[in-house]
Assembly symmetry: C2
Homo-oligomer: 167 residues x 2
DNA sequence: AGTGAAACGTTCATTGA
DNA sequence: TCAATGAACGTTTCACT
């Protein structure tokens, strides 16, 4: 993102990666416990974590909760074709801003084909999904929408951190 | 998922929802600070959180980190058409198990059309993407794959918790 | 990067509503 | 049954080495 974080990225060593992995698994792990695994003192872990936070590598401490409590159990992917005039520049940014403002829109990606944008949506039910898609269709610059409705979620994970170093 | 958690779900009150929201924003918020906002004691918050964990509502405490450190910057959606014989039953489960085993596969959803399954993948680059899609195509029961390659990520969030009650 | 001490947070047995 | 209290214990933080 910013210059600092990208400069930082190259400098992540195995200790940093181990700390990140450990905190992903359980962010309540104490500094002492992490330090023990790495044979360093808690204060070293503490300083590393501060650096990772300041550098934007660790965004925040959070929890994972059962998404069904939100009662947003309908997931759909929506491909959007834009009008010619909205394929670049300010009009495109306006379309994107309108999409960003929608609570139901969880992901927005640019793609090349067969759509111009690909969205992921979560709504309470198909009726509300239809309504949201109606609103999206009405956005100036949107030519067509193409909905792929999902019927069963088998796997949905934001990131797999298997690639983070073991020690 | 299990009986206990679904029984629990109906019983979430505003206090629970507020706690979940607060922990989503910052899971290092102290019990005392949350309690102050709700005018209850830290031990009450503590017990609530224990209950939420036991009931499976809170899955775990974790961190969000910058995904670019994994160097998995290529995102693609892949629609899969299954062979007739793999549309139901054991063969379908086998296909799904093979997909679940792939590190690059972050999401798997059943859909009705135009595909049978919809995947979300993350790989280091397009060459590796091609390789993974090759492996997927080779799975017994997979008839065809249809890749939507993304070129820019604009928004990617697992869940928006705007719906969780304020107090 | 480590030490040690003070500040702070969590946990739990007990008590009361 | 549920919440508060308060003390014991563990964790974080930071100035100093």
């Amino acid at each position: 993102m910013n210059e600092m974080s990208s400069k930082f990225k190259g400098n992540l060593d195995d200790t940093d990666l181990f700390i990140i992995r450990r905190l992903c698994e359980d962010s309540n792990t104490s500094l002492a416990a992490i330090g023990e695994e790495l044979n360093v003192s808690p204060s070293t872990i503490h300083k590393r974590i501060c650096r990772l936070k300041d550098g934007g590598i660790i965004e925040r401490f959070t929890i994972l909760f059962d998404p069904s409590i939100l009662e947003l159990n309908t997931i759909a992917f929506v491909g959007i074709e834009l009008e010619r005039s909205a394929m670049v520049g300010k009009k495109k940014e306006e379309v994107i801003n309108r999409l960003l403002a929608l609570r139901e829109v969880l992901e927005i990606h640019e793609t090349l084909e067969p759509f111009d944008l690909m969205l992921k949506l979560r709504t309470r039910d198909v009726d509300l999904l239809r309504e949201v898609i109606g609103n999206i269709s009405a956005i100036d610059g949107v030519m067509a929408t193409n909905t792929i409705l999902t019927t069963r979620k088998i796997l949905e994970t934001p990131l797999k951190y298997d690639n983070l170093k073991e020690v």
